[in-house]
């Protein structure tokens, strides 16, 4: 392809090719400081391409391709090329990752122990991870927790933190020193802006952590907490995993180990300050 960028995020290498320069320029800027894939060989290839040759120039629309594709994926306008690249990279992970059990969760770490936060879109897992990352926690990722089936450890996948709609202003205010990507307005997911993980997150991204607490946050409710039984955790994490079935018995062993050994709590919170206070209190009580 005309323009190419390669990067390693945690243990996973990507090679992104594009018909256009602009998405690659954004990636080069925002992923500056990230290493190249191990041995120069990526785990996944991503392609951003024009559906027809003239669509490189006339109302340019970015189609998403790569090792793994969704046939019904709709193209995005070139102005949202960065989003297309990020979506394509996530898609490769969701459909193709076989080394790790993937949980759709954000992860932060302190003292070698990981806090996993998972929930439906809008639960606030990216927002909370970004804010905790600015308050003494190490950001390990806002999208996927990578569970090593052999050890049970969580590997970091600190890609750009994807902030949507109201979360953008909250994190801009809460992380005033943060480096942000361009505002992508009017995407299929609403307004999106990416936060670049800080230097501490990058420096430690090859250091796994032992899972210590699983949270199921829910935004928009009065503060409340409850224990979550292992059977419910098991069901919710199978639903939060994109490759549990594909991993077969390795996935079963990895997931049941987490469920049996890591405490889980559901928390409701009305605002992020309340959530952070709840998180800190729960962590201190471990």
């Amino acid at each position: 392809m005309r323009h190419v960028f390669s990067v390693r995020i945690g243990p996973v290498g990507f090679r992104i090719g594009s018909d256009w320069r602009a998405p690659i320029a954004h990636l080069e800027s925002l992923y500056a400081g990230y290493p190249a894939p191990q041995g120069g060989v990526p785990d996944f290839n991503v392609r951003l391409f024009a559906a027809r040759p003239w669509r490189r120039f006339v109302r340019p629309a970015v189609m998403i391709g790569g090792d793994f594709v969704l046939p019904e994926a709709a193209p995005l306008p070139l102005a949202q090329g960065l989003l297309a690249a990020e979506m394509a990279m996530n898609l490769q992970m969701a459909l193709g990752q076989r080394h790790y059990l993937l949980l759709h969760a954000s992860v932060v770490e302190r003292d070698g122990r990981a806090l996993l936060m998972t929930g439906i879109s809008g639960a606030g897992k990216s927002t909370l991870a970004a804010l905790l990352g600015a308050r003494g926690w190490r950001l390990m990722g806002d999208e996927f927790a990578l569970v090593d089936p052999e050890t049970g450890a969580i590997h970091a996948f600190p890609r750009l933190v994807s902030l949507k709609n109201d979360a953008i202003g909250v994190v801009e205010a809460g992380v005033p020193d943060g480096r942000f990507g361009p505002l992508l307005a009017g995407t299929p997911k609403g307004d999106i802006r990416h936060l670049v993980p800080d230097s501490a997150a990058l420096a430690a991204m090859d250091r796994p952590a032992i899972p210590a607490l699983i949270l199921f946050p829910r935004f928009g409710f009065e503060p409340a907490e409850r224990d979550v039984l292992p059977s419910e955790v098991f069901v919710r994490l199978t639903q939060a995993s994109t490759n549990y079935v594909a991993l077969g018995e390795r996935g079963f062993e990895a997931l049941t180990r987490i469920v049996k050994t890591v405490p889980a709590r559901a928390i409701d919170y009305p605002d992020t300050e309340s959530a952070i206070a709840q998180v800190e209190a729960l962590w201190a009580a471990l």
């Binding site: 039984l229 292992p230 077969g248 018995e249 079963f252 062993e253 049941t256 469920v259």
Partner: protein, 91 residues
């Protein structure tokens, strides 16, 4: 099939993990995970590898567990489900 012998699947065919009142069972040949609750775990534990007839199972369950209104029809339905999932075999 009153004289039919029911057996829990062999250990090499399933992986069982107990989770509070549920039992997570991974069935190796199908690759399916089953999350089962009363009376299914009790049925599996009671049958064991040696297995037993329907009547013996009903009596053993009644002796060992408080399973409420588990009548013959309900027990037959649960056994049929376990057989179709590959967690119980018949001979």
């Amino acid at each position: 099939m009153p004289d039919c012998l029911y057996r829990m699947a062999r250990p090499e065919d399933v992986r069982v993990v107990h989770l509070d009142s549920f039992m997570a069972v991974y069935h190796r040949s199908s690759g399916l995970t089953h999350l089962i609750t009363a009376p299914a775990p009790e049925i599996l534990v009671t049958l064991g590898e040696a297995g037993m007839t329907f009547n013996a199972l009903r009596e053993s369950l009644a002796d060992a567990y408080e399973l409420g209104d588990l009548d013959d029809a309900a027990l037959t339905a649960r056994l049929d489900e376990l057989v179709s999932a590959g967690l119980v075999s018949t001979a």
